[in-house]
C-alpha cells in the first residue's frame, strides 16, 4: 500500500513540476532556517551549562542607589565574595574574576615573539574549583596556586608556542601594571562548553597589578568592579542565603555605605542565566536578550508556516487535478481514512525531502550565516542525537500542519460527484486560500516594517549629532609603561604633520566604557549628597580635538592642575547655575583620606559620551599633566588619503616607539561598535525576513499560475472580444493585490506595537511614523505585483485560439 502511495506521489510530483518545485524549495528553505535558528538559540542557551553542579553556582550582583541614580551592577566590591565563604557555611567556594580596568592591552613576549592581547583576568586560585574547562595542557588542580602563574586559552598559546609544550615556560607580560614574568601552568579551551567569561588568559590574583589591589581591598560600598561567584553546597538554598545578605552587608559595610550616602543590595544570579540576561552594568561579555531569541524563533516558525501554507494552498488549488483520483480510489474500495493516510503521507514525504535538502543547503550557507550571527556553528551539531530528533520533529510537525487540511479536504470529496467531473463546488476552498494568503502577507508586511524601523533607528544612531565630532579621528593606544613614556614625543611629532589638526592624550576615549567615577559635592555638602560623576583625565587639547562645545567658562589651559570641565547634566545635578558654576569647587572625600577638591573651569554642552541606550549622565573632564595616567592619543585629522597619512604616521610610530607594534583605530568605528548587538540583530532579522518574503512569493507565484490556468478560457474569450493585455493583467492581478491590501491593514498595528516595544530599549530613538508603514506596504505591493504579473502577462499574451481550442 505504502509503495503504491509513494509511487503515486512521486509521479504526481514529477508531473506537476512547478507545484513540486515551490513546495520542496519552500519547505527546504523553511527547514534550513528553522534548523539554523534552533541551533543558534541552542548555542545561546548553552552558555555556562556545562559546569559541574552548575545549579549551585551563582554570581553575586549589586543594586545600588547613589544620589537618586539607580544602578544594577554585575559586579560587587572586592571583599564580599571571600567574606560570604567565611560567614556562611552553605557557601562551598568562591572565586573572583577581575578585569584589568583601564589596562586594555597586554604585550606578551616569548623568545622572539611579541604581540598585544586583550582580555586578561585576575582570578582567585579557586577558579577551577568553580568553573570547568577542558585542559589541553596541564591540569586544573594547582594551575593558579603559585604567584605569577598564568593559564592561557588555546589560541593565545598556539600563537606564542606554535606546537611547543607550553607548560612551565616563562612568558613576559608588559602592560600598565609594569613588566612581569609569568609561568604558564595550563592551556585551556571551551570545548566543554561556552562561558560568559570572555578571557584569553587567566592570571592568579597574587600577580601584582590590580590583583594585589583586590587582595588588600576592604572597601564594602564602592569599588564595585569585581565579578564574584560562589558555589553553594549541594542542596543549599540560594533564596534563603539571599535573604541573609542585607544583614551580612550591614555587618561589614554599614559605616562606609552611610558615609557615601549609598544604598546597596546584593543578589544571587544563577550563573547559567548570565548570558541570556541583559541589563547589567559592567557586564563582561555581550549578552543576548531572550526576547531577541523569541523573535528569531518566531521568524523561523513563520518561515516554515509560510512554506506549509504554500503547500496547503497549492494542494487545495490543484484539487481538481486530484479529484478524479480520489473518486476512483473511493469507488474501488478506499475508505476516507485510507485517503487521509495517503495525502498525509504525501505531505510527510515532501516535508522529509525538504528537510533532507535543507541539510546540504544549510552546510553550504553555514559560513555565511555564521558570519552574520557571529556564532560559530560547525558540523559537530550533526553528531548530536538531539538534532536528529529535532529534524524528525520538524518533518512530523511540518508534514502534519501542511498535510492535514489538504488531506481532510481532498478525502471528503464524494466519489460519485468527482467521478462525473462535477467538483466545482469542492474546489472552491478559495475563501480559505485567500485567508491563508492574507496570513502569509501579514507576516511579510510585519517583517518588512520591522526591517524599515530597525534600519531607521540604526541610521538615526549612526547619523545623530552626538555633541562631539567622531569623524576623521584616529585613536592610538599606549598600553605599557615603556610606550606611555614615549607618547609625548609621538604626540608632538603628530602635531608637526600638515594633515593633523589636533592631538590629545587621555585615559580613555569616547564611546568606551568609562570605569572612572567618583562622587563630587559642592561647598557645604558631603559625600552622602555627592553626585557620582564619570570622568576622563586628559590634557588641554581634548575639547578642541573633539569639537566639544563649551557653554560657559573656558577650555583647559596648560598647567590647569585640579581644574575640571563639567557637563550640563552634572551642573544641574549639583544645583549649579551653569553661568555661575565657573570657579566652583567640587569636593570628594573617601575615608580615611581628607577631602580634596577640583575647580570648575567651564561647563560643556551635554554630549553622548556613552551609547545612546542610556541618557547622558553626570560627567567631567579632569585636567592632568601626568603622562602615566594616559593610555590613548586621539588625533583629529583632515585627509582624503588615509592610506598615505597612515603610512606617514606609521613611520613616525616606528621612529618614536620601536618596541611596540603599530596599532590604530577610527573613533567613529569604535563609537559604532557600541551598537554591534543591534547591527547583528538587524542583519539576522533582515536575512530571515528576506527568506520569509521569498518563500511567500513562491506560494503566490504558484497560486497566480494556477489562477491563470483556471481562467484560461475566460482570458481567451475576453481577448477575442477585444480585451487588451493590460486589461487582462489588471484582471488577474487585482484579486491578489486586494489580499495584499487587507494584509497591510492587519499588519500595520501589529508591527507598530512590536517595534514600539523594541524602541523602548533606546533612550534616543526615532519616532515611528506613518510613512514607514506606507513604505512597507508599497514594497509588499510591488513584490506581490511583480510575482503575480509574471503569470498574468504570460496568460495575457498567450494566443487565445489555443486556450479556446483546448476547452
Amino acid at each position: 500500500m505504502i509503495r503504491n502511495y509513494l509511487k503515486t506521489t512521486y509521479r504526481f510530483l514529477l508531473k506537476n513540476k512547478t507545484f513540486s518545485f515551490i513546495n520542496i524549495v519552500g519547505l527546504a528553505i523553511g527547514a534550513m532556517c528553522c534548523i539554523y535558528i534552533l541551533l543558534y538559540v541552542q548555542d545561546q542557551n548553552s552558555y555556562d551549562k556545562h559546569h559541574k553542579d552548575v545549579q549551585d553556582i551563582y554570581r553575586v550582583t549589586t543594586t545600588l542607589s547613589l544620589s537618586g541614580d539607580k544602578h544594577i551592577h554585575a559586579t560587587v566590591s572586592p571583599p564580599i565574595a571571600p567574606a560570604l565563604k567565611t560567614d556562611f557555611p552553605e557557601v562551598q567556594q568562591y572565586v573572583r574574576v577581575v578585569n584589568t580596568l583601564g589596562v586594555n592591552r597586554h604585550l606578551l613576549s616569548y623568545k622572539e615573539k611579541s604581540f598585544y592581547e586583550k582580555d586578561m583576568f585576575y582570578v582567585d586560585s579557586t577558579f577551577f574549583d568553580v568553573f570547568n574547562y577542558h585542559f589541553v595542557n596541564g591540569s586544573p588542580q594547582k594551575a593558579l596556586t603559585e604567584p605569577y602563574s598564568i593559564v592561557l586559552f588555546k589560541p593565545v598559546a598556539d600563537k606564542l608556542f606554535a606546537g611547543d609544550d607550553p607548560i612551565g615556560k616563562t612568558i613576559n607580560i608588559d602592560n600598565g601594571y609594569g613588566k612581569h614574568d609569568f609561568k604558564v601552568t595550563g592551556v585551556i579551551d571551551e570545548s566543554l562548553g561556552k562561558t560568559h567569561i570572555k578571557a584569553s588568559m587567566l592570571v592568579t590574583m597574587h600577580s601584582g597589578g590590580i590583583g594585589d589591589y583586590v587582595l588588600r581591598n576592604q572597601i564594602w560600598a564602592g569599588n564595585n568592579f569585581t565579578n564574584s561567584y560562589i558555589k553553594l553546597h549541594p542542596g543549599a538554598s540560594a533564596e534563603a542565603l539571599e535573604q541573609k545578605l542585607p544583614d551580612f552587608l550591614n555587618k561589614h559595610g554599614e559605616q562606609q555605605l552611610k558615609e557615601l550616602g549609598m544604598q546597596k543590595a546584593l543578589h544571587l544570579q544563577p550563573v547559567a542565566s548570565i548570558h541570556t540576561t541583559p541589563g547589567y552594568e559592567v557586564e563582561q561579555s555581550k549578552t543576548v536578550s531572550p526576547s531577541f531569541l523569541y523573535i528569531l524563533l518566531a521568524i523561523g516558525i513563520m518561515i516554515q508556516v509560510i512554506a506549509c501554507i504554500n503547500f496547503m494552498n497549492l494542494s487545495t488549488a490543484r484539487a481538481s487535478k486530484r479529484a478524479k483520483e480520489v473518486g476512483v480510489r473511493k469507488v474501488i474500495g478506499a475508505g476516507r481514512f485510507d485517503l487521509v493516510k495517503q495525502f498525509l503521507g504525501e505531505s510527510f514525504l515532501l516535508s522529509f525531502i525538504g528537510v533532507l535538502l535543507a541539510l546540504p543547503l544549510l552546510l553550504a550557507v553555514m559560513p555565511y550565516l555564521n558570519g552574520i550571527t557571529g556564532v560559530v556553528i560547525g558540523l559537530a551539531f550533526l553528531a548530536d542525537y538531539r538534532i536528529w530528533l529535532m529534524l524528525a520533529g520538524i518533518i512530523l510537525v511540518t508534514g502534519f500542519i501542511a498535510g492535514s487540511y489538504p488531506a481532510f479536504y481532498l478525502s471528503a470529496f464524494q466519489a460519485i460527484k468527482v467521478i462525473k467531473g462535477n467538483f466545482t463546488s469542492y474546489v472552491s476552498a478559495a475563501g480559505i486560500r485567500r485567508s491563508l494568503v492574507v496570513f502569509q502577507f501579514v507576516l511579510a508586511v510585519v517583517l518588512i516594517s520591522v526591517i524599515i524601523i530597525i534600519y531607521s533607528q540604526l541610521s538615526f544612531i549612526k547619523n545623530r549629532d552626538l555633541g562631539f565630532n567622531q569623524k576623521q579621528k584616529l585613536v592610538f593606544g599606549f598600553y605599557t609603561n615603556d610606550t606611555q613614556g614615549k607618547m609625548t614625543n609621538f604626540a608632538n611629532d603628530l602635531r608637526q604633520m600638515a594633515d593633523v589638526k589636533a592631538v590629545t592624550k587621555a585615559d580613555n576615549y569616547l564611546g568606551q566604557f568609562i570605569g572612572h567615577d567618583h562622587g563630587v559635592y559642592p561647598a557645604g555638602g558631603n559625600m552622602a549628597t555627592a553626585i557620582d560623576a564619570q570622568n576622563i583625565a586628559t590634557d588641554e587639547y581634548f575639547v578642541q580635538a573633539h569639537g566639544i562645545h563649551i557653554l560657559n567658562g573656558r577650555d583647559f589651559r596648560q598647567g590647569d592642575t585640579d581644574k575640571v570641565l563639567i557637563n550640563q547634566t552634572l551642573a544641574k545635578r549639583l544645583g549649579l547655575d551653569p553661568q555661575k558654576a565657573i570657579g566652583a569647587r567640587l569636593y570628594t572625600q573617601y575615608n580615611p583620606n581628607p577631602a580634596t577638591y577640583v575647580e570648575v573651569a567651564g561647563v560643556m554642552k551635554d554630549f553622548n559620551y556613552n551609547s545612546l541606550h542610556i541618557e547622558v549622565r553626570p560627567f567631567m573632564l579632569v585636567y592632568s599633566n601626568d603622562n602615566t595616567r594616559f593610555v590613548n592619543i586621539v588625533a583629529s585629522v583632515n585627509s582624503s588619503d588615509y592610506k598615505q597619512l597612515l603610512g606617514k604616521i606609521e613611520a613616525v610610530w616606528h621612529k618614536d616607539i620601536p618596541s611596540a607594534p603599530f596599532d590604530y583605530a577610527f573613533l567613529d568605528e569604535e563609537v559604532q561598535r557600541q551598537y554591534e548587538t543591534e547591527v547583528t540583530l538587524s542583519q539576522i532579522i533582515n536575512l530571515f525576513t528576506l527568506i520569509a518574503i521569498f518563500v511567500s512569493c513562491l506560494g503566490l507565484f504558484g497560486l497566480a499560475a494556477f489562477s491563470a490556468e483556471q481562467r484560461n478560457k475566460e482570458i481567451g474569450i475576453r481577448k477575442v472580444l477585444g480585451a487588451s493585455v493590460t486589461g487582462i493583467v489588471q484582471l488577474l492581478s487585482k484579486d491578489f493585490l486586494k489580499l495584499v491590501f487587507i494584509s497591510i491593514i492587519i499588519a500595520t498595528p501589529i508591527a507598530w506595537y512590536a517595534m514600539h516595544k523594541w524602541l523602548q530599549d533606546f533612550v534616543y530613538r526615532v519616532n515611528i511614523s506613518w510613512w514607514m508603514f506606507v513604505l512597507a506596504g508599497t514594497i509588499a505591493i510591488i513584490i506581490a505585483f511583480v510575482t503575480v504579473s509574471f503569470q498574468s502577462v504570460k496568460a495575457a499574451i498567450a494566443n487565445p485560439v489555443k486556450s479556446l481550442r483546448s476547452e
Binding site: R11, E325, R329, I332, G335, I419
Partner: protein, 225 residues
C-alpha cells in the same frame, strides 16, 4: 441478488425539488445481465450509483444478497463495495499517475491481498483482457479501447459478484465498443452479475433483460431471447 423496493431519490435546490427515482422497485438475480435504458435525466445513473453504494437513497429498501444496505455508513459501504462490486465507467477513470498494472492492482491493495498473489492475479486478468503487453504503460499512452479494457480488468480483478457499467462504450468507436461488450458477456457467462446503463440499443442487446426508465419509474421490461 439485488432487490430494491419503492426506492426514492430527490434532488433539491433552493426552489425546485426533482424526483430522480420515484418508488422504483427492481429485482436482479445472480448471474443476470441487465441493461438499464431511458432518456437523459430519467434516473439511470442515479439508480446505478445507489446500487453501487456510491449514493444514498432517500426512501425505500435495498437488499444486497438479502442484507438491507440502504443506510449503511461510509465505512460499511466501502467495505461491501470493495469485496463485491466492480465498476466500469464511460470515461474509464484510470489513475493517470499509475501504470496499467498498478491501476489493476489497486483494488487488490485495498482488500489487503498479499503482494505475490496480487502479481499473479493481475497478470492473469491482464492476459484475459489481452492487454498484458501494455502492463507498464500509463493510461494516456493507450487508445480508448485499451483504456476501457484496463478499466474492465480493474473491475473484475477482485472477482466481484456484481459489475456495474455506466455507458461502458460511450467513449469508444463501434469495434472497440463491441470488444468491450464481448468481454462483459464473457464475464457474465462465467457467473458475474452485470447491470449496465446504456443509451445504445445495440449494446443492450447483449443483455438478458432491458429495464426502461422514465421519470424515475420503470415503464417497461424487455426480456431478451
Amino acid at each position: 441478488m439485488i432487490k430494491i423496493t419503492a426506492l426514492e431519490k430527490f434532488y433539491r435546490t433552493e426552489e425546485v425539488e426533482t424526483i430522480a427515482l420515484n418508488k422504483l422497485s427492481i429485482e436482479v438475480k445472480e448471474g443476470e445481465f441487465v441493461a438499464i435504458m431511458g432518456p437523459s435525466g430519467c434516473g439511470k445513473s442515479t439508480l446505478l450509483n445507489i446500487l453501487g453504494l456510491l449514493d444514498d437513497p432517500d426512501g425505500g429498501s435495498y437488499l444486497f444478497n438479502g442484507t438491507e444496505v440502504a443506510h449503511f455508513n461510509e465505512r460499511k459501504r466501502a467495505d461491501l463495495r470493495k469485496h463485491n462490486i466492480g465498476f466500469v465507467f464511460q470515461s474509464f477513470n484510470l489513475i493517470d499517475e499509475l501504470t496499467v498494472f498498478e491501476n489493476v492492482e489497486l483494488p487488490l491493495i485495498y482488500t489487503g491481498v498479499p503482494s505475490s498473489e496480487r502479481v499473479s492475479r493481475v497478470e492473469k486478468v491482464l492476459d484475459k483482457m489481452q492487454i498484458m503487453h501494455r502492463r507498464n504503460h500509463y493510461p494516456q499512452q493507450l487508445s480508448g479501447g485499451q483504456q476501457q479494457r484496463v478499466a474492465v480488468a480493474r473491475a473484475v480483478v477482485n472477482n466481484p459478484k456484481l459489475i456495474l457499467a455506466d455507458e461502458p462504450t460511450g467513449n469508444l468507436d463501434s469495434s472497440n465498443g463491441n470488444e468491450v461488450m464481448e468481454l462483459l458477456t464473457d464475464l457474465n457467462e462465467q457467473g458475474t452479475t452485470i447491470i449496465m446503463v446504456t443509451h445504445s440499443e445495440h449494446d443492450a442487446r447483449y443483455s438478458h433483460r432491458i429495464i426502461r426508465l422514465l421519470d424515475g419509474q420503470t415503464v417497461v421490461e424487455n426480456i431478451m431471447i
